[in-house]
Amino acid sequence: MITVGMDLGTQRVKAVVLKDGQVVGRSQAFAGFDPTKATEQAVAEALTQANLKLSDVQHFAATGSAMDMAPYEHSTVSMMSADAKAGVSLIPTARTIIDVGAEEARAVRCDERGVMADFVVNERCAAGAGAFIEAMARALEVKLEDMGPLSLKAERASPINASCVIFGESDVVSLIHRQESKPEICRAVFDAMADRVSSMIHRLGVNPDVVLVGGVAKDVGFVASLNRKLGLTVKIPEYPDYVGALGAALIAAGRVKGGA
């Protein structure tokens, strides 16, 4: 059975091709102004990797904030259900799945089948999400990918306000004016983000194992701060940015079996 999961995120679109429960292709593209076209590209690329054609696909399922713009005839599934399904399939002991993307952070509590039991979403503010790191990297004149490694060199933490990207940025500027070192400011950024995300998770209850997915899971600086904040080690699957798309592909497979 061949299914495709499409995750139309705010910055990038991701596609996963699933053949009999195995991932045989994955690809992503910038969402840009035309997420539909970007998704078509990502799907085409992922199918090429798998040596498959569009006509081989039995079911497309879309998720992500722009799921209504997904190409091809498809069903939809919420990001939360997709995260729960894929999270437990990748790490069977997962009971809390945190997804930190570009513009949104959310967390899902689920059971051993990957069925969602509760969820929380950040309060419509990008301060707990990837865009915050981007904005701060700009203020610090540091490359986005260098933020994490740099933060690990910090010797101490300086607190900043992460209730809002804009105020956060002005806090960073005052740290610069106080001539704090870059590593310390980078760490302050990740600590502030982790603070936001962990208080969100505490509203849900911290049920191990805690799994971190989404693009920001690839940032070592954020992971270190979050682990410190939660007092545990979050598990991160390989390809954390594809988890939403994988969940959609798995749910698509279930829908083929279920005759949906």
């Binding site: 990957g114 969820f119 979403v121």
Partner: protein, 443 residues
């Protein structure tokens, strides 16, 4: 129109031209939203009861009801507006005046309110201020005086701000419910309000008139409860339709509302007998609790739930814009003036589940109400709805969540603003919640 001309302490002076332009723009947009909401409600139910037509008309805030009140005013009747359910409307009708609720549901006017109060303030308050600034709200403009019950901080300061242009009667509501002197204090407020209304209208509220008013309320409560009972079983009415009927009571003539609600219930009973369900009985049954949702703009949550993919249906609410309006009857024993006034005091204070109250065990009345409703109405999930700045509801969430966790009923905290722009994000949340209730995802 008689407006008290006093020095403006709060509201900014606005050029007549700007005011007229803004009012016109918002009014045109609002009429479109009203029409669109109703069109969507009609579409949701192909067999929508004929009796709904009457309530659709009342829901046109710039229509029939506005003209009717205007005509009554021309004959010398007074209109007394109110901003909170604690206002004893029976006293108003007994003085031959027209009670009408004036809370604003307009999103656009909340932005105008930002000129007077900071954006962190509750949008209902900001929107009501904005509506007053451009004289948009028919019922607010028609009100000769306003009863403002000082329940939350927003209401308290709102009444001060509106006093720039309106005669305001503040009612001081005690916050600790389970104390005998709270009730005595509130009874005094009610008695004082009676005198105030009598003086203002020039009409004496005698025993006979008050009894009549209370009896009108009794009949309304009876049919109101009948409507909510009809939502207990398999669905025969969309939640939005029922919510609109409930809310229309606050603008309508009470006797005529009751007659039409009875017609509606008769139709719904016939429908139930034919097993003509409005949606599949298998879809998730949802209750909404929290901040009031005022017609016409703030209709986005019920619309999202009932047009969602997957779809849900709202079968109950615990909101002062909904079922709290008429849920509780006024318990009179003797029908003496004193007894009636005490019964009114008790009904408005003790029966309320508003989070402005506390007691030895917090706002336990609300928890009990929610749990009873969940069990009896077979509710599968609760949406805890809060608009930003509504402190009391926001702060009571953690307790409600714990209580509902105990009975294993999922509750989702949904916060929003007076804006249309976040519908996409709300949709994601609402649909994920419905998906969860549904176990729609096949494994």
């Amino acid at each position: 129109m008689k407006e008290t001309t006093v020095e403006r302490k709060y509201l900014p002076e606005m050029q007549q031209k700007e005011m007229d332009e803004l009012r016109n723009t918002v009014k045109v947009a609002s009429e479109k939203i009203i029409a669109d909401n109703i069109a969507r409600m009609k579409k949701a139910d192909p067999h929508r009861p004929d009796a709904m037509k009457y309530f659709d008309d009342i829901a046109n805030l710039f229509g029939k009801r506005q003209q009717e009140i205007e005509a009554e005013k021309a004959k010398g009747k007074k209109v007394i507006g109110y901003m909170c359910l604690f206002a004893p409307t029976e006293l108003i009708t007994a003085a031959d005046a027209i009670p009408v609720r004036v809370n604003s549901g307009w999103y656009d006017t909340s932005k105008l309110g930002d000129r007077v109060v900071p954006v962190e303030v509750c949008p209902v308050i900001r929107s009501t201020i904005g509506a007053k600034m451009i004289q948009l709200s028919p019922f607010l403009e028609q009100s000769d005086a306003l009863i403002s019950v000082l329940t939350c901080d927003g209401m308290t300061k709102l009444s001060e701000i509106l006093s720039d242009q309106k005669t305001i009667w503040g009612m001081n509501v005690p916050r600790v419910k389970d104390s005998t002197h709270s009730l005595r204090f509130w009874s005094d407020e009610i008695k004082q309000m009676k005198t105030q209304i009598e003086t203002f209208t020039g009409n004496k509220i005698d025993r006979k008139k008050l009894k009549e008013s209370i009896e009108v309320s009794h009949r309304a409560t009876k049919v109101f409860r009948r409507l909510q009972e009809l939502r207990k079983g398999n669905p025969v009415i969309m939640g939005r339709d029922a919510m609109l009927v409930n809310q229309a009571y606050s603008w309508d003539d009470k006797v005529r509302w009751t007659e039409n609600a009875e017609k509606l219930c008769n139709e719904l009973e016939a429908r139930a007998a034919k097993k003509d369900w409005v949606v599949s009985p298998d879809i998730p049954r949802v209750m909404v609790t929290g901040t009031p949702m005022f017609w016409p703009d703030n209709w986005k949550l019920p619309t999202l739930v009932e047009e969602g993919n997957p779809q849900g249906i709202i079968v109950a609410d615990e909101q002062c814009s909904g079922e709290r309006i008429l849920n509780d009857p006024i318990g009179v024993d003797e029908w003496s003036m004193d007894d009636m006034l005490n019964a009114i005091s008790e009904r408005y204070l003790m029966a309320s589940t508003c989070p402005c109250f506390t007691s030895k065990d917090g706002n336990e009345d609300r928890i009990n109400w929610l749990i009873t409703k969940i069990k009896d109405w077979n509710i599968q999930g609760v949406i805890y709805y809060v608009i930003r700045g509504c402190m009391l509801y926001a702060m009571e969430y953690s307790r409600v969540k714990k209580a509902l966790d105990k009975i294993n009923v999922p509750v989702y905290y949904l916060d929003t603003e007076y804006t249309r722009e976040d519908v996409g994000q709300m949709k994601t949340r609402v649909e994920a919640f419905l998906e969860m209730l549904n176990a729609r995802v096949d494994f």
